[in-house]
Symmetry: D2
Subunit: 359 residues, 4 copies
């Protein structure tokens, strides 16, 4: 109820501030007897960790997850999986000047007003560092879903003015990890990287769009009328730091078509019912229809820029602020596994919900 729990049956609760002792979480509701591939989980964390390339923050943190419970001889036991990631390499001094100041477009002001107290170091709870816990649970969700042939792949499709203008079906998503921006098209990736390098030199930041595709879902995931599958995916995405928009299937572009142009016609393909187009984005009436689920997530530029900005302090006095420390000029590459993880959590949750009610 206080906002740190996600999912109803496959349930993640997280804790931790960016400069506290550790961050961590409890994944409750992971079915028993699932083999945990620890290497895979750590690799997922590595995809998010700082310092992974020259276009991300140069902070170095190993982000090593330590499992404390719920796993026995390499398998889940059905009991809650507790885990922690110790905080390392925090330079809390970089933040002392923020104790009484509110950074523009950060959560400093709203946290201060809401709680009357805040751990100002590194953004405290509002830091995107908490998403590392989502990765841990998301990786387990992926392992769970993989058993049923469900896969989730996200990639960067837009960085500022550079857009990859291809449908997911035209791309070879296995190439996403081949470059540091995580765009499956090498040429576009190069342009994006160059743009980010340029932006970074200016001490500025840029945003972009992450696209995501979920393949192999059964028909039946989603619980209308409120917990429609895409509504829960949308909430999951909007809960990620810096996200400003979400669309699935033809999304906002749907506006540009007539019903007669957009409707997905059913046909019988070798004994199985499919749609000949997939403008619905794999979800109809809030329930997966077996086609690819695809959606886009818009990220604003990171708020922390390496430029002097005006602001106010807790007393309401005007101040000049300049960021210290090591920051991301563009979070997109590190956000790709976060998007996948949140999608995995939603899918695993709805998979269990579907199971519960199956006749």
């Amino acid at each position: 109820m206080a906002g740190n729990t996600f999912g109803k049956l496959f349930t993640l609760t997280t804790f931790g501030e960016s400069h506290g002792e550790a961050i961590g979480g409890i994944l409750d509701g992971c079915p028993p007897q699932l083999t945990l591939d620890f290497e895979f989980i750590q690799n997922e964390l590595d995809r998010r960790k700082p310092g992974q390339s020259h276009i991300t923050t140069q902070r170095k943190e190993s982000d090593t997850v330590k499992f404390l419970s719920g796993v026995f001889e390499g398998k889940t036991t059905g009991t809650p999986i507790g885990f922690i990631i110790e905080n390392e390499n925090q330079k809390s001094k970089d933040y002392e000047h923020l104790k009484d100041n509110f950074r523009p477009s950060h959560a400093d002001y709203t946290y201060e007003k809401k709680y009357g107290i805040r751990d100002y170091r590194g953004g405290g709870r509002s830091s995107a560092r908490e998403t590392a816990c989502r990765i841990v649970a998301g990786a387990i969700a992926k392992l769970f879903l993989q058993q049923f042939g469900i896969s989730i792949q996200a990639y960067v499709s837009t960085v500022h003015s550079i857009t990859l203008n291809k449908k997911h079906s035209e791309l070879d998503l296995s190439k996403t990890e081949e470059n540091i921006i995580r765009c499956p098209d090498a040429d576009t990736a190069d342009k994006m990287i160059a743009l980010i390098e340029n932006v970074r030199k200016k001490g500025d930041t840029v945003g972009g769009i992450i696209s995501c595709v979920i393949k192999g879902t059964p028909v039946g995931l989603g619980e209308p009328v409120f917990d429609k599958l895409h509504a829960d995916i949308g909430k999951a995405m909007l809960s990620i730091n810096a996200v400003k928009g979400f669309e699935f299937g033809t999304g906002f572009d749907s506006v540009n078509y007539m019903g007669s142009q957009l409707n997905d016609i059913f046909s019988n393909e070798k004994g199985a019912i499919h749609t000949t187009t997939n403008n619905s984005g794999g979800v109809q009436g809030g329930i997966s229809n077996g086609e690819d689920i695809y959606f886009k997530v818009a990220f604003k530029p990171v708020a922390t820029i390496m430029q002097m900005q005006k602001s106010v302090n807790v007393k309401g006095e005007e101040v000049n602020l300049e960021a210290k420390g090591r920051h991301d000029p563009c979070v997109l590459p590190r956000a790709v596994p976060i998007v996948e993880s949140m999608a995995a959590l939603v899918l695993a949750d709805h998979f269990l919900r579907m199971n519960a009610y199956k006749k």
Copy 2:
């Protein structure tokens, strides 16, 4: 858990199929001693009801709400508010041909596969008729929020190719109800109406965008990290039939700016802290910052078109389908109060959540 409950403290549970005896709901958690303005509630329902103008469906239903509990001498008692809206004027025969057929881009197929049984008449549970219950509860939420000076106003900003290119702050939203499309700009409204009339003659449908503004929120609504205010609003919107996308603040357009351009600078305005711009859309770090909350919701064209379409039946055989009955060429005008109602439910819920944890 089965998807028919919305909200955690201000909680709406709904029931009802479009051609059953009645639809209805239970609003649990409405604080006591709130005076219910029944005329206002009914008026909200009237804004959604079918047959309200020549650009909506011509079905006639009075959509009269009947309160069964939770209200005593005109005031809420703090006990659950049960209500029903009887179904009238259903022409179930219009749907008999759909018993074994799946309409394109409708929920017929997914419901059939998920549940193995469905009330095919008028879409059953998947009909947008269920949103009438959201209006009832949303109207009560509005009355609750009004006590604290919080108001919610939505309007149609795009119908297909016609877009109202003004910010909400440049509009006189009191004019929204002056035309049947619910666009506060009279000229744009006329163009939208003409477009819909044209589309309807072709037996086709169009979608569009609804914009919404929430004014008067206190600082502090929203429960990070998962139940960020905008994430819950986003989910609420995505749970509405035909919605394909959601964005708040500068939304997808954020991508086109640098961090230095988009950051909202704090300033002290007559002793109160405000932002000089509001690209954040009134929410920072998932918590309301006291500025206007604004967002956009994309609706696809209605799936029911008055044209012959190919499809398949339950046996997987190809069939030709043609809609019967009376349908909307464009749901946007009727969706305006639904958007407002869902926003009101989220706000009321978070208001109570904020209250619970206040020191």
Copy 3:
């Protein structure tokens, strides 16, 4: 969250005051394709209804349930089941003298203080009349459980000084419905009835104990560490009006034995693992072990007595109160189906929860 919802996957939300228009509820999460035996459901309601015998209240209400949704051609559809029971035969005038007075050991005072407003007629929301809605949902839960061979039977084992001193295994529970007190032993039943008749003549009331047995449960129901099966059953029972205590298995009497006397020894009975005794009451570590689940529920005497009592009014002034109307000298016989219904709701809920997590 406001307390009117029970269950997590098989979820009942109820509404209604005793003298309002109607009471009712929404059962969300009932699996699809369950055939609803309406006669059975109504019969369950009849077991609870007032006026059923001379030892219950003489109020006459038909308590006819009307289903509004979620059922199609006699079967559940997986969508929420909305239902109402209209209030009849309310004599609100009998309660006008209570508008400003607080009846001893009733909820008048606490409701007034908590909500600042209350529907004083017939106890309003605090009336045991709301349990009729639990019966409707409980009857559906019974039909659901019946498919898996699970049965639930309660009976009156104590009325004041008269106790049926036999274990459930020594009784023929099919005889429970053969007398108006619902005690499976005819002789004991006669004594109980005589006692109640006597108490009623004095204008007084008595309480007692209801025992309940659940047979046929699979191993595996219950979600430790907090949602242990017996903990959820206990809460369910304690939520019933007038209940003061709950014990399962050997209960409070466990105190009188040593561990060596009480431990249930496992043995292999024809290839199946069973316990040779069942002091555990069918639940070990919070999870059903396949043996009979049995428990007891203590009911205090009804607070409404037909005698003059001192009390205070809303101003704190001392007043004399005398009950009007028609009341139960002993609620036990009418509470038997309520106990069964609440047990059925818990079992159905945990059955779905078990299903959700099954490998």
Copy 4:
């Protein structure tokens, strides 16, 4: 949903097996700006820890809690409080013989059947060791409640045949901690201790009853109809290992009185409404009425006895089992703070719920 979360607004989620790396939890929803008295919290843990006296298990564990988040400069921040207690001194070898065997009246069999896998060492998740996490959160709840003058005190009132036959109002509860059994009456305590010493020499175990009193509650805690205050307290108690029964107010003994004898008469005491008796146990209609809340909790004898017992193994073969290691002959003294902690969690949760809905 998987059972490891307790509370709706003041929410504890726990993890951990008795022989894993650590146990721990996340307390989400603790209001901000609460000063955490770490010494008090550790002292509460010490009241539960093993090895505290010669009548408890002789296992030695320091049970030191480590807070990882949610606390800044000694105060809560409103963000989730993550904490761990490392496991020490586990002698997993003592349990190797249990790998394939089911101990009588333990959870070995039900866990094995439910999950198909279990950490058999020390009972794994089913070990009462998990209650240490409840103590941590319960201690914080106590600190929270203390601000409003609410106190919670439990004590041992029965050990097997020795019962303290006094009402809580006749006792000086400040003496509870003066002896190792935690009974406020010194003479009775001595008898209880002697009894336990005797039982322990025989390698047997005994149970008993813990009484608990909550003073200083406001009128208004509890959310009928399902989340009645006593129903939630009852569930909390029944979720504790070895608990078999719960009663509040006059409890099961209510059966022995007439309504006219049991009703609590309201009176005006110096301008405040009170009841002249308190048979209701401080709760009426599910809502606290401001009087002392009191209840009793029955514990069965510990299942682990130091005697040879028959049982079966996973193959269904009959085996002889003998406990190894160091065990409690009677858990009552160590359970006193657990009872208090669970009561504190319920009260804090309902306090926040009451706040949320206050006009």
